[in-house]
Symmetry: C2
Subunit: 309 residues, 2 copies
């Protein structure tokens, strides 16, 4: 590996070279730039103010840990929420890391266990499901994070989606021209009936930047991937975007930012009809009486297979 170039600003020893910006930075200037990028993103997309209670979805991975740390450093009123999915060792470690971080930094963390909430772990559900693991797990996490944020009196839910995730997901949605998903791919989704406001404050930071941020701030994180993610389409698309970025630096950022500018073109012509789930009362777009979460629960209770949506 080539020796790190000196910091563009202070000429001290380089800590990272941001290839997309052709910018070598020392540790200190890298940290302040990273927090500035997040601050600018929060402002630009009117995500939240210093008075609002922001709930951070904390998985224990580098993205959410860095996000939580940055928001705390920027003096936002943040509380973490961690869902213990019951994925054997993976979940045990994730929970422990999240709890230790909260303890060390004097931050408030709410932990919910899927086993307690739903009576089943993700492990149990995946076994009974015809859906891909990431899909069924996504449904459950989205539902729980939304409901719990309301119950905790939070007005905004912040997630750690980074630029790599966002560009790979955008690529997937574009290859299939998923108009509805495209429209909903944005750094901020406003509060709608029954849906809490959702924001992605680190969406313009790469995976590498968040990793180096954790390294610089000595933040521990889970660095094994979920045991069910192997071969997932999202990982293939991450690789593809990485190859493109490698050939043409700054493509990811241009691709994602460019999309945000034209995203209104994909606004749906008519509003999706929502109704209240007859069981939990949360609003749902499902064509059944029950929302998708309650249907999964019901299927599990009846010991029946979970069908694809």
């Amino acid at each position: 590996m080539a020796r790190q170039k000196r910091c563009r600003i202070c000429k001290r020893e380089g800590f990272i070279h941001l290839r997309y910006a052709n910018l070598p930075l020392c540790k200190e200037h890298f940290l302040s730039r990273t927090r500035s990028v997040v601050q600018d993103t929060i402002k630009k997309f009117k995500m939240f103010s210093k008075e609002q209670k922001v709930i951070v979805a904390v998985s224990g991975g580098k993205d959410s840990m860095a996000l939580w740390h940055i928001l705390a450093q920027l003096d936002y009123k943040v509380e973490g929420i961690h869902i213990d999915l019951g994925l054997r060792e993976f979940s045990m470690i994730s929970r422990k890391i999240s709890e230790e971080f909260a303890e060390t930094h004097g931050l408030k963390l709410h932990v919910f266990s899927l086993k307690e909430e739903l009576n089943y772990t993700i492990e149990d559900i995946v076994k009974k499901s015809y859906e891909k693991p990431c899909s069924v797990c996504g449904t459950i996490k989205r539902y729980m994070l939304n409901r719990l944020t309301y119950e905790m009196g939070g007005s905004v839910l912040a997630t750690g989606h980074n630029l790599d995730d966002e560009s790979a997901r955008l690529m997937g949605n574009i290859l299939n021209w998923e108009e509805e998903y495209l429209y909903r791919q944005y750094p901020v989704l406003p509060e709608e009936e029954g849906m809490v406001k959702k924001v992605k404050p680190v969406v313009f930071l790469t995976r590498k930047e968040l990793l180096k941020y954790c390294e610089a701030e000595q933040i521990s994180y889970v660095d094994v991937s979920c045991p069910h993610s192997r071969g997932a389409r999202s990982l293939v698309l991450l690789d593809i975007m990485e190859m493109i970025e490698d050939k043409y630096p700054a493509t990811k950022l241009r691709f994602v930012k460019g999309f945000y500018k034209i995203r209104e073109k994909f606004a749906p012509s008519k509003k999706v009809e929502l109704h209240k789930c007859v069981k939990c009362g949360m609003l749902t777009a499902s064509n059944k009486d029950l929302c998708r979460f309650c249907r999964i629960k019901e299927r599990m209770e009846k010991n029946e297979a979970i069908e694809r949506t």
Copy 2:
């Protein structure tokens, strides 16, 4: 390599396996299917009728040779046009192959030499240009094909862009959200003031299908790539799309067809202002008095470097 599966239709020995359609076919059924796909494309996009004179841009490569052959087989009134770019051996072989094909099949071919028309070869121009070779060559070919089609009394210009080209180009335009280029990426562009109608009848056939078509019909073609194409962005994007297709068969077709359905979203809000080039009289969107082609010519005559657009 695994043994070719038997033809889905007649159970005879397989000649090709179309992975995107999971369809093994014998030579005969492959040829008839290929021609049907082209026929359907011509109809669906109202490209041209049997009464119109269609000019095929013949480079000597597999795509344009197959296109020319298919259109002749389908009884369209086709004439070929070949531009000798003056790229040393590459152009000599391309011209010879095009001429021999016309001769053998009793088809009419018009050959134009860039050296005669413009007084310079592509080779000369590339040396004096700050633009990428593919870019300056593209400008010249588009200009000449358009003007010559008019002069030959043709009402439509057909090019051999295949699905691989189209999907790679679409990917490039999307990565940069080139709205204007996106809107103009379509299988048929109507005649506009000064611009002949342009069509891509083989846009739903892959590179592999056109290659196998030439093989089956014993059509010779130039199979060396242009000496200036090395490292071109279009080749990188072709590789990327190939990797995606390899993982998820039928993605290219879905990606391109899906785009055509939503392409209207990229319609420009105001029409591009065109004016007549003060030299050649052709319409141009250039912000200068001269069209891009005449500007290149002028620069060459003055022995000045050709600037980027």
